[in-house]
Amino acid sequence: MDTGSPTPTPPLHAYQLPACDATVREVAGEDTFDALRDRALLRQNAHWFCHLRWIVSGGLAMLAVAGVPEWTTAIGLSVRPTWPLAAASLLAAVNLVYETVLRRWPRDTTAGRIRLLLWIQIVIDLMILTLVTHFVGSTTSYAAFAYLFHIILACIFFPRTESLAIVAVAAVLYAGCLLWEGTDSIPPRTVFAAMEDLPRTSVAKSVEAWRLASLFGIWLIIWYLVSRLSATLRDRERQLAVTNRRLEASSQERARHMLQTTHELKSPFAAIHANAQLLLGGFAGELPESARAVVYKISQRASMLSQRIQDMLQLTNLRSQAQAPPSPTRFDLGEIIRTIVARAEPVAALRGIRIQADVEAVLVRSVEDYWKMLIENLLSNAINYSRDGGVVNVLCRREQHATARVAIEDRGIGIPADKLEKIFQDYYRTQEAAQHNPSSTGLGLAVVRQVAHLLRMSVTVESALGWGTRFTLLVPTCTSHVEDS
Protein backbone atom coordinates (compact mmCIF):
# COMPACT_ATOMS: atom_id res chain seq x y z
CA MET A 1 0.00 0.00 0.00
CA ASP A 2 1.32 3.43 -0.94
CA THR A 3 1.66 5.45 2.25
CA GLY A 4 3.47 8.40 0.65
CA SER A 5 2.05 11.88 0.83
CA PRO A 6 -0.56 12.69 -1.86
CA THR A 7 0.59 14.67 -4.91
CA PRO A 8 -0.10 18.39 -4.20
CA THR A 9 -2.67 19.96 -6.50
CA PRO A 10 -0.96 22.39 -8.90
CA PRO A 11 -2.38 25.94 -9.27
CA LEU A 12 -5.51 25.48 -11.39
CA HIS A 13 -6.46 27.84 -14.20
CA ALA A 14 -10.17 28.53 -14.48
CA TYR A 15 -12.49 29.79 -17.18
CA GLN A 16 -16.22 30.27 -16.87
CA LEU A 17 -18.33 29.98 -20.01
CA PRO A 18 -20.45 33.15 -20.22
CA ALA A 19 -24.21 32.71 -20.02
CA CYS A 20 -24.76 34.33 -23.41
CA ASP A 21 -22.64 34.12 -26.52
CA ALA A 22 -20.72 36.92 -28.19
CA THR A 23 -23.48 37.78 -30.65
CA VAL A 24 -26.07 38.20 -27.91
CA ARG A 25 -23.65 40.25 -25.80
CA GLU A 26 -22.90 42.47 -28.77
CA VAL A 27 -26.58 43.13 -29.44
CA ALA A 28 -27.13 43.70 -25.74
CA GLY A 29 -24.82 46.73 -25.95
CA GLU A 30 -27.72 48.65 -27.35
CA ASP A 31 -27.23 51.80 -25.29
CA THR A 32 -24.21 52.84 -27.31
CA PHE A 33 -26.00 51.96 -30.49
CA ASP A 34 -29.07 53.98 -29.46
CA ALA A 35 -26.86 56.96 -28.58
CA LEU A 36 -25.24 56.84 -32.03
CA ARG A 37 -28.62 56.54 -33.74
CA ASP A 38 -30.11 59.41 -31.65
CA ARG A 39 -27.11 61.60 -32.45
CA ALA A 40 -27.47 61.03 -36.20
CA LEU A 41 -31.23 61.61 -36.04
CA LEU A 42 -30.90 64.78 -33.96
CA ARG A 43 -28.32 66.18 -36.35
CA GLN A 44 -30.53 65.38 -39.31
CA ASN A 45 -33.50 67.06 -37.57
CA ALA A 46 -31.40 70.12 -36.71
CA HIS A 47 -30.52 70.57 -40.40
CA TRP A 48 -34.14 70.06 -41.41
CA PHE A 49 -35.26 72.64 -38.83
CA CYS A 50 -32.84 75.16 -40.36
CA HIS A 51 -34.28 74.51 -43.82
CA LEU A 52 -37.80 75.13 -42.48
CA ARG A 53 -36.62 78.38 -40.91
CA TRP A 54 -35.31 79.63 -44.27
CA ILE A 55 -38.79 79.07 -45.71
CA VAL A 56 -40.46 80.97 -42.84
CA SER A 57 -37.92 83.77 -43.11
CA GLY A 58 -38.57 84.01 -46.86
CA GLY A 59 -42.34 84.07 -46.22
CA LEU A 60 -41.97 86.97 -43.78
CA ALA A 61 -39.74 88.86 -46.24
CA MET A 62 -42.41 88.43 -48.93
CA LEU A 63 -45.04 89.69 -46.47
CA ALA A 64 -42.88 92.76 -45.88
CA VAL A 65 -42.71 93.44 -49.62
CA ALA A 66 -46.43 92.78 -50.06
CA GLY A 67 -47.22 95.20 -47.24
CA VAL A 68 -45.84 98.19 -49.17
CA PRO A 69 -48.35 98.50 -52.03
CA GLU A 70 -51.78 99.94 -51.54
CA TRP A 71 -53.67 96.81 -52.62
CA THR A 72 -53.23 95.20 -49.20
CA THR A 73 -55.61 97.84 -47.84
CA ALA A 74 -58.10 96.86 -50.55
CA ILE A 75 -58.30 93.34 -49.12
CA GLY A 76 -58.71 94.65 -45.62
CA LEU A 77 -55.15 94.27 -44.38
CA SER A 78 -52.77 96.82 -43.04
CA VAL A 79 -49.26 95.42 -42.95
CA ARG A 80 -46.45 97.76 -42.06
CA PRO A 81 -43.31 96.29 -43.68
CA THR A 82 -41.07 97.08 -40.71
CA TRP A 83 -41.95 94.19 -38.39
CA PRO A 84 -42.04 91.33 -40.95
CA LEU A 85 -38.75 92.60 -42.37
CA ALA A 86 -37.21 92.79 -38.89
CA ALA A 87 -38.49 89.28 -38.01
CA ALA A 88 -37.26 87.87 -41.35
CA SER A 89 -33.80 89.45 -40.87
CA LEU A 90 -33.58 88.22 -37.29
CA LEU A 91 -34.58 84.69 -38.28
CA ALA A 92 -32.13 84.68 -41.21
CA ALA A 93 -29.28 85.94 -39.02
CA VAL A 94 -29.79 83.34 -36.26
CA ASN A 95 -30.34 80.62 -38.84
CA LEU A 96 -27.01 81.44 -40.45
CA VAL A 97 -25.35 81.07 -37.05
CA TYR A 98 -27.06 77.68 -36.40
CA GLU A 99 -26.08 76.31 -39.81
CA THR A 100 -22.47 77.46 -39.42
CA VAL A 101 -22.27 75.85 -35.98
CA LEU A 102 -23.80 72.60 -37.27
CA ARG A 103 -21.41 72.45 -40.23
CA ARG A 104 -18.38 73.08 -38.04
CA TRP A 105 -19.30 70.54 -35.40
CA PRO A 106 -17.53 67.24 -36.01
CA ARG A 107 -19.54 64.10 -36.76
CA ASP A 108 -18.96 62.75 -33.25
CA THR A 109 -20.49 65.81 -31.54
CA THR A 110 -22.53 64.55 -28.60
CA ALA A 111 -26.33 64.29 -28.77
CA GLY A 112 -26.47 66.58 -25.70
CA ARG A 113 -24.80 69.47 -27.57
CA ILE A 114 -27.06 69.06 -30.61
CA ARG A 115 -30.12 68.91 -28.33
CA LEU A 116 -28.98 72.11 -26.58
CA LEU A 117 -28.67 73.84 -29.96
CA LEU A 118 -32.19 72.70 -30.87
CA TRP A 119 -33.47 74.03 -27.54
CA ILE A 120 -31.83 77.42 -28.19
CA GLN A 121 -33.31 77.48 -31.68
CA ILE A 122 -36.83 76.72 -30.46
CA VAL A 123 -36.73 79.25 -27.61
CA ILE A 124 -35.43 82.06 -29.89
CA ASP A 125 -38.02 81.09 -32.52
CA LEU A 126 -40.78 81.29 -29.90
CA MET A 127 -39.57 84.76 -28.86
CA ILE A 128 -39.64 85.96 -32.49
CA LEU A 129 -43.05 84.31 -32.92
CA THR A 130 -44.35 86.19 -29.88
CA LEU A 131 -43.18 89.42 -31.52
CA VAL A 132 -44.93 88.47 -34.78
CA THR A 133 -48.06 87.48 -32.84
CA HIS A 134 -48.10 90.88 -31.21
CA PHE A 135 -48.00 92.65 -34.59
CA VAL A 136 -50.44 90.29 -36.34
CA GLY A 137 -52.87 90.58 -33.45
CA SER A 138 -52.49 88.59 -30.26
CA THR A 139 -56.22 88.44 -29.61
CA THR A 140 -57.68 89.60 -32.90
CA SER A 141 -56.13 86.82 -35.03
CA TYR A 142 -55.37 83.08 -34.83
CA ALA A 143 -51.63 83.81 -34.64
CA ALA A 144 -51.47 82.09 -31.24
CA PHE A 145 -52.05 78.77 -33.00
CA ALA A 146 -48.67 79.22 -34.76
CA TYR A 147 -47.07 78.14 -31.45
CA LEU A 148 -48.41 74.67 -32.25
CA PHE A 149 -45.82 74.26 -35.03
CA HIS A 150 -43.00 74.46 -32.49
CA ILE A 151 -44.86 72.28 -30.01
CA ILE A 152 -45.23 69.59 -32.70
CA LEU A 153 -41.56 69.93 -33.73
CA ALA A 154 -40.49 69.67 -30.08
CA CYS A 155 -42.53 66.46 -29.77
CA ILE A 156 -40.60 65.07 -32.78
CA PHE A 157 -37.17 66.16 -31.54
CA PHE A 158 -37.35 65.63 -27.78
CA PRO A 159 -38.67 63.17 -25.17
CA ARG A 160 -42.10 63.93 -23.68
CA THR A 161 -40.92 65.87 -20.62
CA GLU A 162 -38.75 68.19 -22.72
CA SER A 163 -41.51 68.81 -25.25
CA LEU A 164 -43.88 69.63 -22.36
CA ALA A 165 -41.29 72.17 -21.16
CA ILE A 166 -41.46 73.77 -24.63
CA VAL A 167 -45.27 74.04 -24.21
CA ALA A 168 -44.65 75.81 -20.90
CA VAL A 169 -42.14 78.24 -22.48
CA ALA A 170 -44.65 79.03 -25.28
CA ALA A 171 -47.43 79.59 -22.70
CA VAL A 172 -45.23 81.93 -20.63
CA LEU A 173 -44.23 83.95 -23.71
CA TYR A 174 -47.79 84.29 -25.02
CA ALA A 175 -49.22 85.13 -21.60
CA GLY A 176 -46.39 87.66 -21.17
CA CYS A 177 -47.33 89.26 -24.49
CA LEU A 178 -50.95 89.62 -23.38
CA LEU A 179 -49.92 91.04 -20.00
CA TRP A 180 -47.52 93.43 -21.69
CA GLU A 181 -50.27 94.65 -24.03
CA GLY A 182 -52.63 94.94 -21.05
CA THR A 183 -50.35 97.46 -19.31
CA ASP A 184 -51.13 100.10 -22.01
CA SER A 185 -47.40 100.81 -22.38
CA ILE A 186 -47.43 98.80 -25.62
CA PRO A 187 -50.76 99.06 -27.47
CA PRO A 188 -52.00 95.87 -29.12
CA ARG A 189 -51.50 95.69 -32.88
CA THR A 190 -53.38 93.98 -35.68
CA VAL A 191 -53.05 93.45 -39.41
CA PHE A 192 -56.79 93.86 -39.94
CA ALA A 193 -57.34 97.40 -41.19
CA ALA A 194 -60.95 97.50 -39.95
CA MET A 195 -59.88 96.82 -36.38
CA GLU A 196 -56.98 99.25 -36.23
CA ASP A 197 -58.97 102.33 -35.31
CA LEU A 198 -61.59 100.64 -33.15
CA PRO A 199 -61.53 101.66 -29.50
CA ARG A 200 -60.15 98.96 -27.20
CA THR A 201 -62.97 97.11 -25.63
CA SER A 202 -62.71 96.15 -22.07
CA VAL A 203 -63.12 92.40 -21.67
CA ALA A 204 -63.81 90.92 -18.28
CA LYS A 205 -60.69 89.33 -16.80
CA SER A 206 -62.56 86.07 -16.25
CA VAL A 207 -63.42 85.89 -19.97
CA GLU A 208 -59.79 86.65 -20.84
CA ALA A 209 -58.68 83.91 -18.44
CA TRP A 210 -61.12 81.36 -19.90
CA ARG A 211 -60.02 82.23 -23.44
CA LEU A 212 -56.37 81.78 -22.48
CA ALA A 213 -57.09 78.54 -20.62
CA SER A 214 -58.98 77.07 -23.58
CA LEU A 215 -56.08 77.99 -25.90
CA PHE A 216 -53.55 76.34 -23.58
CA GLY A 217 -55.90 73.35 -23.27
CA ILE A 218 -55.84 72.94 -27.06
CA TRP A 219 -52.03 73.20 -27.01
CA LEU A 220 -51.85 70.50 -24.30
CA ILE A 221 -54.19 68.17 -26.18
CA ILE A 222 -52.13 68.55 -29.35
CA TRP A 223 -48.91 68.04 -27.31
CA TYR A 224 -50.35 64.88 -25.71
CA LEU A 225 -51.46 63.36 -29.02
CA VAL A 226 -48.29 64.20 -30.99
CA SER A 227 -45.84 63.32 -28.21
CA ARG A 228 -47.57 59.97 -27.69
CA LEU A 229 -47.52 59.26 -31.41
CA SER A 230 -43.88 60.34 -31.62
CA ALA A 231 -42.91 58.15 -28.65
CA THR A 232 -44.66 55.16 -30.24
CA LEU A 233 -42.91 55.78 -33.55
CA ARG A 234 -39.54 56.21 -31.84
CA ASP A 235 -40.08 52.97 -29.94
CA ARG A 236 -41.05 51.11 -33.12
CA GLU A 237 -38.05 52.56 -34.92
CA ARG A 238 -35.79 51.46 -32.09
CA GLN A 239 -37.23 47.94 -32.11
CA LEU A 240 -36.80 47.80 -35.88
CA ALA A 241 -33.19 48.97 -35.65
CA VAL A 242 -32.42 46.40 -32.92
CA THR A 243 -34.09 43.61 -34.93
CA ASN A 244 -32.16 44.66 -38.02
CA ARG A 245 -28.93 44.64 -36.06
CA ARG A 246 -29.68 41.19 -34.65
CA LEU A 247 -30.42 39.92 -38.15
CA GLU A 248 -27.13 41.31 -39.42
CA ALA A 249 -25.21 39.75 -36.52
CA SER A 250 -26.97 36.44 -37.06
CA SER A 251 -26.28 36.57 -40.79
CA GLN A 252 -22.57 37.16 -40.16
CA GLU A 253 -22.49 34.38 -37.60
CA ARG A 254 -24.23 32.04 -40.05
CA ALA A 255 -21.79 32.90 -42.84
CA ARG A 256 -18.82 32.29 -40.53
CA HIS A 257 -20.32 28.99 -39.39
CA MET A 258 -20.96 28.02 -43.02
CA LEU A 259 -17.33 28.69 -43.92
CA GLN A 260 -16.01 26.62 -41.04
CA THR A 261 -18.46 23.78 -41.70
CA THR A 262 -17.44 23.70 -45.36
CA HIS A 263 -13.79 23.63 -44.39
CA GLU A 264 -14.29 20.91 -41.79
CA LEU A 265 -16.34 18.71 -44.13
CA LYS A 266 -14.22 19.21 -47.24
CA SER A 267 -10.77 18.87 -45.67
CA PRO A 268 -10.94 15.08 -45.06
CA PHE A 269 -12.05 14.53 -48.65
CA ALA A 270 -9.19 16.70 -49.88
CA ALA A 271 -6.80 14.41 -47.97
CA ILE A 272 -8.47 11.23 -49.32
CA HIS A 273 -8.38 12.64 -52.87
CA ALA A 274 -4.73 13.67 -52.49
CA ASN A 275 -3.63 10.26 -51.17
CA ALA A 276 -5.63 8.44 -53.82
CA GLN A 277 -3.76 10.53 -56.41
CA LEU A 278 -0.49 9.40 -54.81
CA LEU A 279 -1.53 5.78 -55.34
CA LEU A 280 -2.70 6.44 -58.89
CA GLY A 281 0.47 8.36 -59.70
CA GLY A 282 2.64 5.43 -58.57
CA PHE A 283 4.19 7.45 -55.73
CA ALA A 284 3.63 4.48 -53.39
CA GLY A 285 4.67 1.85 -55.88
CA GLU A 286 2.99 0.51 -59.00
CA LEU A 287 -0.56 -0.80 -58.57
CA PRO A 288 -2.11 -3.61 -60.59
CA GLU A 289 -4.63 -2.32 -63.14
CA SER A 290 -7.64 -3.65 -61.15
CA ALA A 291 -6.43 -1.85 -57.99
CA ARG A 292 -5.87 1.34 -59.98
CA ALA A 293 -9.49 1.20 -61.17
CA VAL A 294 -10.72 0.86 -57.57
CA VAL A 295 -8.53 3.71 -56.30
CA TYR A 296 -9.63 5.87 -59.24
CA LYS A 297 -13.28 5.34 -58.22
CA ILE A 298 -12.44 6.22 -54.60
CA SER A 299 -10.67 9.37 -55.77
CA GLN A 300 -13.54 10.41 -58.04
CA ARG A 301 -16.15 9.76 -55.35
CA ALA A 302 -14.17 11.73 -52.74
CA SER A 303 -13.90 14.64 -55.13
CA MET A 304 -17.59 14.42 -56.00
CA LEU A 305 -18.66 14.27 -52.35
CA SER A 306 -16.52 17.29 -51.57
CA GLN A 307 -18.17 19.22 -54.41
CA ARG A 308 -21.62 18.07 -53.31
CA ILE A 309 -21.01 19.26 -49.74
CA GLN A 310 -20.02 22.65 -51.06
CA ASP A 311 -23.03 22.89 -53.41
CA MET A 312 -25.47 21.84 -50.68
CA LEU A 313 -24.11 24.36 -48.20
CA GLN A 314 -24.07 27.04 -50.86
CA LEU A 315 -27.69 26.35 -51.80
CA THR A 316 -28.77 26.39 -48.14
CA ASN A 317 -26.89 29.63 -47.65
CA LEU A 318 -28.55 31.21 -50.69
CA ARG A 319 -32.04 30.11 -49.61
CA SER A 320 -31.57 31.55 -46.15
CA GLN A 321 -30.41 34.82 -47.72
CA ALA A 322 -33.68 35.22 -49.66
CA GLN A 323 -35.18 37.31 -46.84
CA ALA A 324 -32.14 39.53 -46.32
CA PRO A 325 -29.88 39.58 -49.39
CA PRO A 326 -26.51 41.36 -49.17
CA SER A 327 -26.30 44.98 -50.29
CA PRO A 328 -25.49 45.59 -53.97
CA THR A 329 -22.29 47.33 -55.04
CA ARG A 330 -20.93 48.66 -58.34
CA PHE A 331 -18.38 46.41 -60.03
CA ASP A 332 -17.05 45.39 -63.41
CA LEU A 333 -18.83 42.18 -64.39
CA GLY A 334 -16.33 41.67 -67.23
CA GLU A 335 -13.48 41.48 -64.73
CA ILE A 336 -15.35 38.90 -62.63
CA ILE A 337 -15.96 36.76 -65.74
CA ARG A 338 -12.33 37.02 -66.91
CA THR A 339 -11.09 35.96 -63.45
CA ILE A 340 -13.41 32.93 -63.34
CA VAL A 341 -12.44 31.95 -66.89
CA ALA A 342 -8.72 32.17 -65.98
CA ARG A 343 -9.30 29.91 -62.98
CA ALA A 344 -11.33 27.37 -64.98
CA GLU A 345 -8.83 27.13 -67.86
CA PRO A 346 -6.39 24.68 -66.18
CA VAL A 347 -9.30 22.36 -65.22
CA ALA A 348 -10.72 22.52 -68.77
CA ALA A 349 -7.25 21.97 -70.25
CA LEU A 350 -7.00 18.59 -68.48
CA ARG A 351 -9.68 17.40 -70.93
CA GLY A 352 -8.33 19.41 -73.85
CA ILE A 353 -11.25 21.87 -73.67
CA ARG A 354 -10.54 25.42 -74.83
CA ILE A 355 -12.40 28.44 -73.41
CA GLN A 356 -12.87 31.27 -75.91
CA ALA A 357 -13.73 34.46 -74.03
CA ASP A 358 -15.06 37.62 -75.67
CA VAL A 359 -15.55 39.77 -72.59
CA GLU A 360 -16.04 43.56 -72.44
CA ALA A 361 -15.88 45.72 -69.32
CA VAL A 362 -19.47 46.13 -68.08
CA LEU A 363 -20.26 48.16 -64.98
CA VAL A 364 -23.22 46.77 -63.05
CA ARG A 365 -24.80 47.39 -59.67
CA SER A 366 -25.51 44.05 -58.08
CA VAL A 367 -24.27 41.51 -55.52
CA GLU A 368 -20.76 40.50 -56.59
CA ASP A 369 -20.75 37.16 -54.73
CA TYR A 370 -23.95 36.12 -56.50
CA TRP A 371 -22.45 36.83 -59.91
CA LYS A 372 -19.37 34.79 -59.07
CA MET A 373 -21.59 31.83 -58.17
CA LEU A 374 -23.71 32.30 -61.29
CA ILE A 375 -20.82 32.48 -63.75
CA GLU A 376 -18.74 29.80 -62.01
CA ASN A 377 -21.62 27.31 -62.00
CA LEU A 378 -22.63 28.01 -65.62
CA LEU A 379 -19.02 27.75 -66.79
CA SER A 380 -18.44 24.59 -64.77
CA ASN A 381 -21.63 23.12 -66.28
CA ALA A 382 -20.45 23.99 -69.81
CA ILE A 383 -17.05 22.34 -69.22
CA ASN A 384 -18.58 19.25 -67.58
CA TYR A 385 -20.93 18.58 -70.49
CA SER A 386 -18.48 19.41 -73.30
CA ARG A 387 -16.77 16.62 -75.16
CA ASP A 388 -13.02 16.18 -74.65
CA GLY A 389 -11.14 18.59 -76.93
CA GLY A 390 -14.22 20.80 -77.31
CA VAL A 391 -14.71 24.56 -77.10
CA VAL A 392 -16.65 26.68 -74.59
CA ASN A 393 -17.58 30.22 -75.64
CA VAL A 394 -18.00 32.93 -73.02
CA LEU A 395 -19.47 36.25 -74.10
CA CYS A 396 -20.07 39.47 -72.17
CA ARG A 397 -21.07 42.45 -74.32
CA ARG A 398 -22.78 45.78 -73.80
CA GLU A 399 -26.00 46.15 -75.75
CA GLN A 400 -28.55 48.91 -76.28
CA HIS A 401 -30.90 50.27 -73.59
CA ALA A 402 -28.39 49.99 -70.73
CA THR A 403 -28.16 46.22 -70.82
CA ALA A 404 -25.39 43.70 -71.33
CA ARG A 405 -25.63 40.18 -72.72
CA VAL A 406 -23.79 37.39 -70.93
CA ALA A 407 -23.77 34.03 -72.70
CA ILE A 408 -21.98 30.77 -71.91
CA GLU A 409 -22.15 28.23 -74.70
CA ASP A 410 -20.77 24.71 -75.08
CA ARG A 411 -20.69 22.32 -78.01
CA GLY A 412 -21.34 19.34 -75.78
CA ILE A 413 -23.97 16.67 -75.42
CA GLY A 414 -26.98 19.04 -75.31
CA ILE A 415 -30.30 18.65 -73.49
CA PRO A 416 -33.50 17.11 -74.90
CA ALA A 417 -36.28 19.70 -75.40
CA ASP A 418 -38.71 18.04 -72.99
CA LYS A 419 -36.15 18.11 -70.16
CA LEU A 420 -35.06 21.76 -70.48
CA GLU A 421 -37.41 23.08 -67.81
CA LYS A 422 -36.31 20.41 -65.31
CA ILE A 423 -32.57 21.03 -65.39
CA PHE A 424 -32.75 23.74 -62.69
CA GLN A 425 -34.33 21.36 -60.14
CA ASP A 426 -32.24 20.14 -57.18
CA TYR A 427 -30.30 16.95 -57.99
CA TYR A 428 -31.90 16.64 -61.46
CA ARG A 429 -29.66 15.21 -64.18
CA THR A 430 -30.75 13.99 -67.57
CA GLN A 431 -29.89 10.40 -68.40
CA GLU A 432 -27.45 11.68 -71.04
CA ALA A 433 -25.80 14.01 -68.49
CA ALA A 434 -25.43 11.26 -65.85
CA GLN A 435 -23.79 8.98 -68.43
CA HIS A 436 -21.47 11.70 -69.72
CA ASN A 437 -20.39 12.98 -66.30
CA PRO A 438 -21.18 10.51 -63.49
CA SER A 439 -19.51 12.74 -60.87
CA SER A 440 -21.95 15.64 -61.40
CA THR A 441 -23.76 16.71 -58.24
CA GLY A 442 -26.94 17.90 -59.96
CA LEU A 443 -26.89 21.03 -57.81
CA GLY A 444 -24.93 23.50 -59.98
CA LEU A 445 -27.95 24.68 -61.97
CA ALA A 446 -30.10 24.70 -58.80
CA VAL A 447 -27.59 27.23 -57.43
CA VAL A 448 -27.96 29.19 -60.71
CA ARG A 449 -31.76 29.19 -60.30
CA GLN A 450 -31.53 30.37 -56.68
CA VAL A 451 -29.06 33.14 -57.51
CA ALA A 452 -31.16 34.23 -60.51
CA HIS A 453 -34.22 34.45 -58.21
CA LEU A 454 -32.26 36.53 -55.70
CA LEU A 455 -31.07 38.83 -58.50
CA ARG A 456 -34.61 38.89 -60.02
CA MET A 457 -33.12 37.87 -63.32
CA SER A 458 -34.27 35.37 -65.92
CA VAL A 459 -31.92 32.85 -67.51
CA THR A 460 -32.58 31.65 -71.07
CA VAL A 461 -31.35 28.20 -72.01
CA GLU A 462 -31.23 27.03 -75.65
CA SER A 463 -30.11 23.52 -76.50
CA ALA A 464 -30.29 20.66 -78.97
CA LEU A 465 -29.05 17.12 -78.53
CA GLY A 466 -25.59 16.78 -80.04
CA TRP A 467 -25.34 20.55 -80.78
CA GLY A 468 -24.66 21.81 -77.28
CA THR A 469 -26.23 24.30 -74.86
CA ARG A 470 -26.27 28.08 -74.52
CA PHE A 471 -27.26 29.96 -71.35
CA THR A 472 -28.00 33.68 -71.82
CA LEU A 473 -28.60 36.44 -69.30
CA LEU A 474 -29.56 40.07 -69.98
CA VAL A 475 -28.08 42.28 -67.28
CA PRO A 476 -29.08 45.89 -66.51
CA THR A 477 -25.92 48.01 -66.55
CA CYS A 478 -24.96 51.24 -64.82
CA THR A 479 -25.26 54.36 -66.98
CA SER A 480 -21.53 54.97 -67.20
CA HIS A 481 -19.14 52.24 -68.26
CA VAL A 482 -15.92 51.34 -66.54
CA GLU A 483 -13.86 53.44 -68.90
CA ASP A 484 -15.93 56.52 -68.05
CA SER A 485 -16.06 56.02 -64.31
Partner: protein, 133 residues
Protein backbone atom coordinates in the same frame (compact mmCIF):
# COMPACT_ATOMS: atom_id res chain seq x y z
CA UNK B 1 15.33 22.43 -57.83
CA UNK B 2 13.57 24.54 -55.24
CA UNK B 3 13.03 24.49 -51.51
CA UNK B 4 9.28 24.53 -50.68
CA UNK B 5 7.59 25.21 -47.35
CA UNK B 6 4.18 23.51 -47.02
CA UNK B 7 2.00 24.85 -44.18
CA UNK B 8 -1.21 22.94 -43.52
CA UNK B 9 -2.85 21.61 -40.34
CA UNK B 10 -3.99 18.45 -42.18
CA UNK B 11 -0.90 16.24 -42.05
CA UNK B 12 -2.31 13.61 -44.43
CA UNK B 13 -2.90 16.24 -47.09
CA UNK B 14 0.34 18.12 -46.46
CA UNK B 15 2.42 14.91 -46.63
CA UNK B 16 0.76 13.94 -49.93
CA UNK B 17 1.60 17.36 -51.39
CA UNK B 18 5.17 17.06 -50.09
CA UNK B 19 5.52 13.60 -51.68
CA UNK B 20 4.49 14.94 -55.08
CA UNK B 21 6.79 17.96 -54.74
CA UNK B 22 9.75 15.74 -53.80
CA UNK B 23 8.97 13.43 -56.73
CA UNK B 24 9.31 16.51 -58.96
CA UNK B 25 12.79 17.06 -57.52
CA UNK B 26 11.95 19.82 -55.06
CA UNK B 27 13.00 19.83 -51.45
CA UNK B 28 9.85 20.09 -49.30
CA UNK B 29 9.30 20.63 -45.60
CA UNK B 30 5.91 20.40 -43.86
CA UNK B 31 4.83 22.60 -40.95
CA UNK B 32 1.46 21.96 -39.27
CA UNK B 33 0.97 25.31 -37.54
CA UNK B 34 1.55 28.96 -38.35
CA UNK B 35 4.00 29.69 -35.50
CA UNK B 36 6.34 26.89 -36.46
CA UNK B 37 6.01 27.96 -40.08
CA UNK B 38 7.39 31.42 -39.23
CA UNK B 39 10.37 29.90 -37.38
CA UNK B 40 11.04 27.55 -40.27
CA UNK B 41 10.77 30.46 -42.73
CA UNK B 42 13.26 32.50 -40.69
CA UNK B 43 15.72 29.63 -40.33
CA UNK B 44 15.77 28.96 -44.03
CA UNK B 45 13.75 31.15 -46.42
CA UNK B 46 12.04 28.90 -48.97
CA UNK B 47 11.72 29.49 -52.74
CA UNK B 48 7.92 29.20 -52.44
CA UNK B 49 5.30 28.66 -49.74
CA UNK B 50 2.22 26.45 -50.13
CA UNK B 51 -0.21 27.62 -47.49
CA UNK B 52 -3.60 26.55 -46.11
CA UNK B 53 -6.12 29.27 -45.10
CA UNK B 54 -7.98 27.99 -42.04
CA UNK B 55 -6.25 26.57 -38.97
CA UNK B 56 -7.96 25.04 -35.92
CA UNK B 57 -7.14 27.88 -33.52
CA UNK B 58 -7.70 30.70 -35.97
CA UNK B 59 -9.75 30.55 -39.19
CA UNK B 60 -7.78 33.52 -40.56
CA UNK B 61 -4.33 32.20 -39.63
CA UNK B 62 -3.47 31.57 -43.30
CA UNK B 63 -4.18 35.19 -44.24
CA UNK B 64 -2.25 36.50 -41.25
CA UNK B 65 0.70 34.22 -41.98
CA UNK B 66 0.73 35.31 -45.63
CA UNK B 67 0.95 38.96 -44.56
CA UNK B 68 3.68 38.20 -42.01
CA UNK B 69 5.75 36.18 -44.50
CA UNK B 70 5.34 38.79 -47.21
CA UNK B 71 6.77 41.44 -44.87
CA UNK B 72 9.80 39.24 -44.22
CA UNK B 73 10.39 38.31 -47.86
CA UNK B 74 8.41 40.32 -50.42
CA UNK B 75 9.58 38.22 -53.38
CA UNK B 76 8.84 34.70 -52.16
CA UNK B 77 5.79 33.31 -54.03
CA UNK B 78 2.91 32.15 -51.81
CA UNK B 79 0.30 29.73 -53.13
CA UNK B 80 -2.83 29.34 -51.03
CA UNK B 81 -4.70 26.05 -50.97
CA UNK B 82 -8.12 26.20 -49.42
CA UNK B 83 -11.14 23.98 -48.91
CA UNK B 84 -13.32 27.10 -48.92
CA UNK B 85 -13.73 28.68 -52.28
CA UNK B 86 -14.60 32.25 -53.03
CA UNK B 87 -18.29 31.67 -53.56
CA UNK B 88 -19.14 32.16 -49.91
CA UNK B 89 -19.66 35.48 -48.20
CA UNK B 90 -16.67 36.23 -45.95
CA UNK B 91 -14.64 34.37 -48.53
CA UNK B 92 -12.08 36.04 -50.68
CA UNK B 93 -11.53 36.56 -54.34
CA UNK B 94 -8.68 36.76 -56.75
CA UNK B 95 -8.88 40.54 -56.61
CA UNK B 96 -7.83 40.19 -52.98
CA UNK B 97 -4.41 39.20 -54.24
CA UNK B 98 -3.23 42.55 -53.16
CA UNK B 99 0.22 43.41 -51.83
CA UNK B 100 -1.21 45.03 -48.72
CA UNK B 101 -4.30 43.04 -47.81
CA UNK B 102 -3.56 39.52 -48.99
CA UNK B 103 -0.18 39.31 -50.65
CA UNK B 104 -0.33 35.86 -52.23
CA UNK B 105 0.62 34.75 -55.72
CA UNK B 106 -2.35 32.45 -56.38
CA UNK B 107 -5.14 30.27 -55.03
CA UNK B 108 -6.05 26.63 -55.66
CA UNK B 109 -9.16 25.01 -54.28
CA UNK B 110 -9.07 21.70 -52.38
CA UNK B 111 -9.47 18.92 -53.41
CA UNK B 112 -6.70 19.87 -55.78
CA UNK B 113 -5.68 17.98 -58.88
CA UNK B 114 -1.95 17.25 -58.52
CA UNK B 115 -1.27 17.89 -62.21
CA UNK B 116 -2.63 21.45 -61.77
CA UNK B 117 -0.74 21.86 -58.49
CA UNK B 118 2.56 20.73 -60.03
CA UNK B 119 2.09 23.06 -63.00
CA UNK B 120 1.31 25.95 -60.64
CA UNK B 121 4.40 25.26 -58.50
CA UNK B 122 6.61 25.08 -61.62
CA UNK B 123 5.16 28.41 -62.76
CA UNK B 124 5.69 30.06 -59.35
CA UNK B 125 9.28 28.99 -58.78
CA UNK B 126 10.29 29.79 -62.36
CA UNK B 127 8.25 32.96 -62.86
CA UNK B 128 8.92 36.59 -62.00
CA UNK B 129 9.07 37.48 -58.30
CA UNK B 130 5.76 37.91 -56.47
CA UNK B 131 4.47 41.38 -55.78
CA UNK B 132 5.81 42.62 -52.46
CA UNK B 133 5.03 45.39 -50.06
Amino acid sequence: MSYLLIVDDDQDFADAVATVCRADGHEAVVELDATRAVSSFEERPPDAVILDVMFPENPNAGFELARALRKKAPHVPILMLTAVNEQFPLGFSSRDIDPVWLPVSGFLEKPVDFDILRAKIRELVAGPPATGV
